[in-house]
Symmetry: C2
Subunit: 211 residues, 2 copies
DNA sequence: ACCTTGATGATACGGTCGTACCACGAAGAG
DNA sequence: CTCTTCGTGGTACGACCGTATCATCAAGGT
């Protein structure tokens, strides 16, 4: 057999090129030739590793969400060992705001895919629809745990608050993306609601509330 | 001179066709020939009344926002003569949710335009960027007025709450659009926050608070 | 009556896009 | 050594898209 190549690595490299060029010119404007040029390979190779453009786009979406999930996880981990629920939730929400180039690209492309999926049933059947559900469940669990330990308002509805926080983070992110709002003002809005849901109480590290 | 035609009426008709076909197949997929066929005119006429596709798209955006503004106004007016601030705000927010075909199309296309504007500077310079600001200011004023009359929580920050409500309505609308959430659950989330901001107090029609 | 001018139709042109086709190199298997 | 097979390049094809061109019709003004 001739020289064997790691197909998965190649696909990841090409998908990365797709994300880069799509982040600059928009997902709608990217062609196979653009991706090939960005990846530094020939058009034929893009066809070789992804038979069709549709499959390239699907793989690109998967790659995008995987990378972003890892990024959010790293941000949460960077919040420190065993952080309080508030710090965890804040890290989670703020990580999704388009504050740097990578998160900006993610936000733009994820939104583009979501809009595309409304009129493209093949895309709507892709896995990224349950990604928001996972975030919602995780955030709900965090809030419920905070309520049980007395760190969050017990009168609040955890799931509704989780949905609300994620919904706000999404639109605020878009507002930042289109230049209507600054990242700082978006963060301020989110903190406003975190202050409302989380009771000031003791320091987050302490578990016992002083009554 | 030959038969004179109302250009503005023609443009509105063609723009309507653009909105219809874009609502079905997606804004990215619409071509001039599709618009011509939907409007029942020849391709040449679309070129005649809009010299270029870019101008057609710009006009379509304007037409879309105008129609939607009128729709929201009608919804608010339908809330009854001199309704309470809560009823007005609720009508405002619920009118933007994609609950029927027209609002669904609006939400899809407005989002498409917004995403396009991130990578298309000519589109970013279009007027629709200040539309959200107007809604934000109007909603802020409504909340402040409610606070002054004792109908809303005075400890809340009116502008932040206005931003939050609009942000939630936007993302919740998108969630409904992609089929992730039902309109009812979206409405429930919005009502949850309205219940929080607006004090139960007296009936909205009465102006004097009992305390 | 004629001529100007706005409105409309049919069609052609250049470009781009996704995909298909064909050919060649290179590396292990026999 | 040769042959099979994976990887790769170059290029052509057919379709579509936005735009431009040419021609025709119709309705007033003079």
């Amino acid at each position: 057999m001739p020289k064997r190549v790691d197909h998965e690595e190649r696909r990841a490299h090409i998908a990365e090129a797709l994300i880069q060029v799509a982040g600059r010119r928009g997902l709608h404007a990217v062609g196979m030739r653009d991706v090939a040029a960005e990846a530094g390979v020939s058009l034929r190779l893009v066809q070789y590793y992804f038979e069709t453009k549709e499959k390239l786009l699907f793989y690109g979406l998967r790659h995008l969400t995987d990378r972003f999930t890892a990024r959010v996880g790293a941000r949460v981990a960077a919040a420190g060992p065993d952080p309080g629920p508030r710090a965890t939730v804040e890290a989670l929400l703020l990580a999704s705001l388009p504050t740097d180039e990578e998160s900006r690209t993610f936000h733009l492309l994820y939104s583009s895919y979501a809009i595309l999926s409304v009129t493209d049933e093949a895309l709507a059947a892709q896995p990224f629809v349950d990604q928001p559900d996972a975030a919602e469940n995780a955030l709900t669990a965090l809030l419920e745990r905070a309520q049980e330990t007395g760190l969050a308002d017990r009168d609040a509805d955890a799931r509704t608050e989780a949905i609300s926080l994620l919904a706000m983070a999404a639109t605020l992110g878009t507002s930042v993306l289109v230049g209507q709002r600054t990242p700082q003002s978006a963060i301020a809005v989110l903190r406003y609601h975190l202050d409302r849901v989380f009771t000031p109480a003791a320091t987050p590290e302490r578990s016992a509330a002083p009554a």
